[in-house]
């Protein structure tokens, strides 16, 4: 199954792109752009987790924001009670994984549209709990004065923040790409392709669904812990159902099961509008309209456009056929 070659093919381009983005941010970013670079890194992590679940398991999760929120709040609360910030990523991953496990076990037998709605409900429950458990979360006012990794973002430490978040992006990319080429990944795609056939070769579907939700949730939990230690303040609104929907949409826009696509789509649809200092209102509008238009004309996302562009370029520039490049079909001008 050519595991290592496939791993490199999916990991290297995406990781290289991330490294370039991070490097550009390190070299050229002012304080504002550093902030954008950090937040975009967080988005990339969230989208990668979702993309892994949707692409390999073939099921929609609409509660990434919930797992993100749990990772963020738990690590914030522990830090406010004295935990050193460098433990936060581990805490975020653990909290995400545990909550993913719980959700996965609750939804073992639920699939398809039902799973989308149930996870949507779970996401909203988390948001409501963050609002309502006022004794712990301080309700809608949120947590203020959470410790951070390197203090408030400034010219002195922006490089540290960028290295931490984009380093995490690359690690997440590597782990997910490894997982995708492991037997676990193959089993997931077997289940996605045909549940009945997967059962006939001895795979218990529920088990793999629980595992996938756990992985996606752990990734989101990590993003939450990183965000906390940058922002220093949390409010429930940051973890709304709308964010889950946007994460799902960004993953789909990138092209399901394409890590490179997920990175590009997070950059294009989240990073660029922020870089251009477009107001939140227009970001929202543009994202919505682009989403509609993309789904009309390229429902398989940016990676579909990428494949099309490459084949078009081959045809135009090199005279190759649209299919596999093959020496026999090369027409010399």
């Amino acid at each position: 199954m050519n595991g290592s070659r496939r791993f490199l093919a999916s990991f290297l381009p995406a990781a290289a792109l991330c490294a370039v983005v991070a490097l550009a941010a390190l070299l050229f970013a002012d304080a504002y752009l550093a902030q954008v670079a950090f937040l975009t890194g967080i988005t990339v992590i969230l989208v990668l987790g979702e993309s892994f679940a949707v692409g390999n398991m073939g099921q929609l999760l609409m509660c990434q924001a919930g797992f993100y929120g749990i990772g963020a709040y738990v690590s914030a609360l522990l830090e406010m009670h004295g935990m050193p910030p460098y433990l936060a990523p581990a805490v975020g991953i653990t909290c995400g994984a545990v909550s993913g496990l719980v959700v996965g076990l609750a939804a073992t037998r639920i699939r398809g549209h039902y799973l989308a709605i149930v996870t949507l409900a779970i996401g909203v429950i988390v948001e409501e709990l963050l609002n309502n458990l006022q004794g712990i979360t301080n309700g809608p006012i949120g947590l203020v004065g959470v410790p951070t990794f390197f203090g408030p973002l400034n010219a002195g430490n922006q490089a540290d923040y960028i290295v931490v978040v984009w380093g995490a992006v690359i690690v997440v990319l590597g782990c997910l790409a490894l997982l995708r080429e492991s037997r676990f990944g193959w089993f997931l795609r077997a289940i996605r392709d045909s549940e009945a056939a997967a059962e006939s070769i001895g795979l218990r579907i529920g088990t793999y669904q629980v595992a996938t939700v756990t992985v996606a949730a752990a990734v989101a939990g990590l993003a939450g812990a990183l965000y906390t230690n940058y922002a220093g303040l949390l409010v429930p609104d940051l973890f709304s159902y709308g964010l889950s929907a946007q994460i799902l949409a960004t993953a789909v826009l990138g092209g399901i099961n394409s890590f490179g696509g997920a990175v590009v789509s997070s950059l294009v649809f989240n990073g660029v509008p922020q870089m251009a200092q477009v107001t939140a209102f227009y970001q929202y509008l543009i994202f919505g309209v682009v989403l509609i238009v993309m789904m009309q004309f390229a429902p398989r996302g940016l990676s579909q456009i990428g494949v099309y562009a490459v084949s078009l370029a081959r045809r135009r520039l090199l005279g190759w056929g649209a299919g596999q490049p093959n020496a026999a079909t090369v027409r010399r001008p």
Binding site: I110, Y114, N131, Q246, L248, V252, L285, M295, P299
Partner: protein, 291 residues
């Protein structure tokens, strides 16, 4: 105590009526087109702004506001279908994702036109208190209940007794066979969008006077509608009606216990618990028939 309980009960019926009007559209979309439309609550929101505009700027009488809103939504929905959903027929993921985009686009467009400030829709019945025994209820709320009954009866007659209604049910049950028998699916889809528009328009026009009208008011309603539809069984009209009133009553009584903040959480937890027991909703048997 009795007065308190009966006021909660009436309140629950009113809320349930609203849930039902909104959820019926959602369940029809799923039953007939097999799509999840997460922008349905946002169409309710647009309807509420139509009512606001018609009432506050055009100074139309309230009955005209209701009609304008219903007509407006009934026209808006087929247009949205044409622009947004039509190219994605048969796709499972596509319409859901596009509806997220539609939801965002509608919210920001409305915010662009009317700002994010809360608006109020005028209605002459809002301050008209009706005494039922020891309970006094605004006439506006009370209006919902008979209106809803009329609508349910009309929908029932439409689906059971008319030729078009028969076609809708045929496409919902056997899309391929009904096509062979000469039913044009696009016609039926159009009917469903108009119906969903009429229902959600009615809900918007009658409920908006009692709510703060804001561009994001639809999100929560979408979630509520999906709770109703999942508990009632995707695509099941009768199930949605029953589930809507159950949810309405739960909402009302939970708020009555002073736990208004927890109403949504409790309803959602109920949904998740329900799904754990019946993973494919109330209509598992019906799905078996379809395959």
């Amino acid at each position: 105590m009795l007065a308190f309980l009966s006021s909660l009960f009436i309140n629950g019926l009113v809320t349930g009526s609203m849930f039902m009007l909104v959820a019926l559209g959602v369940t029809l979309f799923y039953g007939v087109l097999r799509i999840i439309n997460l922008a349905h609550g946002d169409v309710f929101m647009v309807g509420a702004y139509m009512a606001f505009y018609a009432g506050t700027y055009l100074h139309l009488p309230y009955w005209a506001v209701v009609i304008v809103t219903m007509m407006g939504c009934a026209v808006l929905y087929p247009i949205l279908d044409l622009l947004v959903f039509r190219r994605l027929r048969g796709s499972e993921l596509g319409p859901l994702i596009t509806s997220v985009g539609l939801s965002m686009a509608l919210e920001s467009l409305v915010q662009g036109i009317f700002t994010a400030n809360a608006q109020a829709v005028p209605s002459p019945y809002l301050n008209n208190l009706v005494n039922i025994g020891t309970v006094s209820v605004p006439l506006q709320s009370l209006l919902m209940i008979p209106l809803t009954l009329v609508v349910v009866a009309a929908l029932y007659v439409f689906l059971r007794r008319t030729r078009t209604g028969l076609m809708v049910r045929a496409v919902a049950m056997e899309p391929r066979v009904s096509q062979l028998m000469g039913v044009r699916p696009e016609y039926v889809y159009g009917v469903v969008f108009v119906l969903a528009g009429l229902l959600v328009g009615l809900a918007a026009a009658t409920m908006a006077p009692e709510l703060y009208v804001t561009p994001t008011m639809g999100v929560e309603l979408t979630v509520d509608a999906y709770i109703v539809v999942v508990i009632g069984g995707f695509g099941n009209v009768e199930g949605a009606i029953v589930a809507a009133f159950i949810l309405g009553l739960i909402n009302s009584f939970v708020s009555g216990l002073g736990l208004a903040d927890w109403a949504t959480t409790i309803a959602l937890a109920l949904l998740v618990g329900f799904m754990m027991v019946r993973p494919s909703g109330l209509v598992a048997e019906r799905l078996g028939v379809r395959q």
